[in-house]
Amino acid sequence: NSKVIQTPRYLVKGQGQKAKMRCIPEKGHPVVFWYQQNKNNEFKFLINFQNQEVLQQIDMTEKRFSAECPSNSPCSLEIQSSEAGDSALYLCASRGGLGGAETLYFGSGTRLTVL
């Protein structure tokens, strides 16, 4: 179904540490999304890109995260200083375009635990 690859599968960090996760979107998909899914199954949109450009991001992402999607390299999402509340499943997704009529394909996620 999906060819979006996320690494690592699991990530354990202490509070205050950096936490970095990576995503390789499906080949030919210029649009990449990052979502955070908490233990209550609530999804929070974090940021999206078209090619290397940030299209939208929430306030939290702008202040505490560093994210990029360089050409010819995996996309990455990095929490600069992890907090307990950041423990969640981080999901990356890609699709072929922005204007609708495009299925969003998700990777298997990086499960972050902040101790």
Binding site: N1, S2, F33, Y35, Q37, N40, N41, E42, F43, F45, N48, L55, Q56, L89, L91, A93, L98, G100, A101, E102, T103, L104, Y105, F106, G107, S108, G109, R111
Partner: protein
């Protein structure tokens, strides 16, 4: 903000039975996508709909084409492998990011 209300939150089915999941949207949506998440966290895309209905095997989904404020997912002849958590996610007319429901956990037993 825009909300996606998904029901029921949990569903227990016996093999061979039929059931339906529903998502209501507080505003008109452009499209809806249905996913199933397995125990490992993988989100598998089931359907993308901008209107009308789609069917794939024992699963069928519909998106209200008139007011675009609800969508349904029907499971026919439930099998054990249908167990998982199902999410709907909708895209509003102006937005670029999907808004997710909080899921329906489906458990199918023999």
């Amino acid at each position: 903000g825009d909300q996606v209300e998904q029901s029921p939150s949990a569903l227990s089915l016996h093999e061979g039975t039929d059931s339906a999941l529903r998502c209501n949207f507080t505003t008109t949506m452009r499209s809806v996508q249905w996913f199933r998440q397995n125990s490992r966290g993988s989100l598998i895309s089931l359907f993308y709909l901008a209107s009308g209905t789609k069917e794939n095997g024992r699963l069928k989904s519909a998106f209200d084409s008139k007011e675009r404020r609800y969508s349904t997912l029907h499971i026919r002849d439930a099998q054990l492998e249908d167990s998982g958590t199902y999410f709907c996610a909708a895209e509003d007319r102006g937005g670029r990011a999907l808004i997710f429901g909080t899921g329906t956990t489906v458990s199918v037993s023999p």
